[in-house]
């Protein structure tokens, strides 16, 4: 170039982000598991710094905190752990068909609360009237219906008026919470607390009081996998989610699919609420689901909408959550520490998706170099 000396100082960005969609799935999974490995190291280092113990000891505390003396045949801790995993998984599974349809159901919390409330009402009102098998059947049916109705309301508005489902489902959560509060006010006497009810509880198998819950969720996991991958309805969900234009083109009734799928999503949330009430708490309060309806959104995504991957992801995250809480406990820290660590791990896992879908390139080399 003739007047090379006049060239301005380059302000070309150092890094450039370029979209890519060609990373092979195997490599993508390597990136994800690599991230997970790094996060385990970070957890260890953090926990070491706080507890003052060695890396190995820290992980021992975590393991003991989650599984207890499992090798000596004491399985109580294991069942508790699996119960935690199962409940979060149930909610994540419930959200997955809606998410595959790109219907952002943020109302798992409310839908589960309504299911739980239905179970609670049956236990209190019908516990003395019906025989045990009939009572359980009635509990199941009403919980499923209650959850489904709570999911159907936003779906109908979405299908016919194209309302924003994210806001709608979120608001439905608050209504559900208020209904629970009102129910506690009526039934709780002055204290707004309902004492555990003994009627309509799920049976304990051996030492495992969560046997029913864990089994039900395991079955749902397998069914959901088959439903999404091998059923005609699951196929319709994918088509509507990927492109409503294509769905219309091949004659899928989009409204019908939206409504049907949200009924399923809500119903499964209702089932979770029932499992929490009849299979665990035997009582109800507004904190029944404890925010897991929102954690489940993340888990469904982290599991790539695949029920089995979801199960693995949730098992890992729950392990970290309980384990780190134990470490914090021994170091006399409160439970927020565990939440912080879980937050960091989730952020890292979400962040690694960026490197799967984009590649970062450094400033390209100048073709002409100044003299």
């Amino acid at each position: 170039m003739s007047n090379a000396k006049e060239i301005k100082i380059s302000r070309e960005p150092l890094l450039k982000v370029v979209k890519r969609d060609d990373m092979p799935p195997l490599k993508a999974w390597l990136v994800r598991f690599g991230t997970l490995a790094i996060s385990f190291i970070i957890i260890g280092l953090f926990s070491m710094a706080i507890s003052g113990k060695s890396f190995g000891e820290t992980y021992e505390i975590m393991f003991m905190g989650v599984f207890g003396r499992i090798f000596e045949g004491k399985l109580t801790m294991l069942w508790k752990y699996l119960q935690e995993v199962a409940m979060l998984l149930a909610l994540a599974l419930a959200l997955t068909p809606a998410f595959k349809m790109k219907f952002w159901n943020c109302g798992a919390e409310g839908q589960a609360l309504m299911g739980g409330l239905a179970a609670m009402i049956c236990m209190i009102e019908l516990g003395d009237i019906l025989s045990y098998p009939v009572l359980i059947a009635v509990i199941a049916v009403t919980s499923i219906l209650a959850g489904a109705v709570w999911g159907l309301i936003p779906a109908i508005f979405k299908a016919f008026f194209n309302t924003n489902e994210t806001l709608f489902t979120l608001m439905m959560n608050y209504i559900a919470t208020q209904i629970i509060a009102y129910y506690l006010y009526i039934k709780g006497g002055g204290s707004n607390v309902i004492n555990p009810v003994s009627a309509g509880n799920f049976p304990t198998v051996g030492t495992n009081e969560y046997f029913v819950n864990i089994t039900v969720v395991t079955v749902i996991t397998v069914i959901m996998f088959i439903y999404l991958k091998y059923s005609k309805q699951g196929y319709e969900i994918s088509v509507v989610g990927e492109s409503q234009n294509t769905a219309r083109y091949i004659g899928i009734n989009v409204k019908k699919v939206i409504i049907r799928t949200m009924a399923i999503s809500g119903a499964l949330c209702g089932v979770t609420g029932m499992l929490l009430v009849a299979g665990k708490d035997h009582s109800i309060n507004a904190n029944l689901v404890g925010g897991e309806g929102f954690t489940a959104i993340l888990m469904s995504w982290l599991g790539q909408f695949n029920p089995f991957i979801m199960a693995v992801m949730i098992a890992i995250i729950t392990f970290i959550e309980i384990g780190v809480a134990k470490v914090a406990d021994t170091a006399l820290l409160n439970s927020s520490f565990s939440s912080i660590i879980v937050g960091i791990v989730i952020l890292m896992l979400v962040g690694c998706e960026f490197f799967i879908h984009y590649s970062v390139k450094f400033r390209h080399n100048k073709k002409e170099v100044e003299a």
Partner: protein, 515 residues
Amino acid sequence: MSTQPAIELKNITKRFGAKVIANKNVNLTAYRGEILSILGENGSGKTTLMNMISGIYFPDEGQIFIDGNEAVITSPKDAFSYRIGMIHQHFKLVEVFSAAENIVLGIDEGKYNLKNSTAEIKKISEQYGFDLDVNKKIYSMSVSEKQTVEIIKVLYRGADILILDEPTAVLTPQETQKLFAILRRMRDDGKCIIIITHKLHEVLSLSDRVSVLRKGEYVGTVNTAETSENELTEMMVGKKISLNIQRDEPKNAEDRLVVNKLTCVDRAGTTVLDDVSFTAKSGEILGIAGIAGSGQRELLEAIAGLQHLSSGEIYYFDPKTGEKENLKDKTPMQIRNMGVRLSFVPEDRLGMGLVGNMDIVDNMMLRSYRKGHSAFLERKKPKDLAMKIIHDLEVVTPSASTPVRRLSGGNVQKVLVGREIAASPTVLMVAYPVRGLDINSSYTIYNLLNEQKEKGVAIVFVGEDLDVLVELCDRIMVIGSGKINGIVDGRTATKEEIGLLMTKSKQEGAEDANE
């Protein structure tokens, strides 16, 4: 015209993802005091190139020089500091603000003083002959007024390199003329004007030089005074070649689809189809020619049951029973359940005809997955069909379980056309089936259509390449602004004749703008 280029592009390359190359080694020079046209077909990379000058994209390779110095433009703000202003096809204005407020919006000139600014804006308006009420709110403005605001906005910011992206697409002929007068005045004032267009007559009447892009590559630059419409067309679409597409005489042609006085109004209340009547016959290819967006898409969608009709009838004659059925206001499902074998290859292949994230097998099922009473999918037959199509049509793909979005355009189209033909249709509608395809894939598609014609299928072919239409089709229907401007015999019709019919309704206005 000065000798120092105002703006010079050297070896500019821009990719989107790994596959799409929007611009490849483009070189371009524009001087002050001239109007340069960037000419090219849809998708030739005109707008992408200009977006790199105006800071919306950043080139992957190559350099931009402004007044001889290398410039690095990473944002529209950078572009303004080089005195470059772009007027986009879609306006970027705040609806509830007045013209003046929109013009000064975002400029940091110390104190906000609308009065001074207004005076300045008026000065600019008078200098170039704009006609603008600065206090008028944007929402009450016509399209042409909004465009005026956009132009003054960049002038107010001191731009002396102006880029206009298809500025006449939204204007009436009179407004176009007015705009051209203003642009000429700006040129005489020493500004560098770059205008993106694909309308030849505008190029010839307005610009000093023309740079032509084809498929993202720079073809060349010519002086307008020394060129002709023919030369430009050739540069734009490549050498005129005889295609030698096979065309047999239709056999036993009988009425298959009769469209009668079809009228269609879209949501905005615009009439997109106006009293359309025609007949598609079995064993014949009926071509539909027209400028993009003249109602071709709506017409096919109306027949396929995807558009609501305001009035008119669509009759289908069953080849077996000879019965006459009205398809009006039927959903695609109902049409299929009536036993009408209607296949449709839509223009938007991955957004409508196929699902990009699904693999070839699952895309095969789109039409047929409902078959049978089982609640579960049957993937055996779709898989066989996928393998057959991959084999017969020579689809290049790693496997049948590759997501179709990963395939090249030609292979995507083979998958789609293959599926639609596999349904053994009696009516086959295809929209721009060879758009973006290489020569070999295009011929594969022509042969497939001819095979179907041989089988007695009534084919409706919406195309843009007139060379193809006159060599492939038995009859050609020309559509313009939703109206049928004429139906000609494909064997005797010339490109000129069709071109004339295409612009029939707009002919007068176009000539006005030429002067």
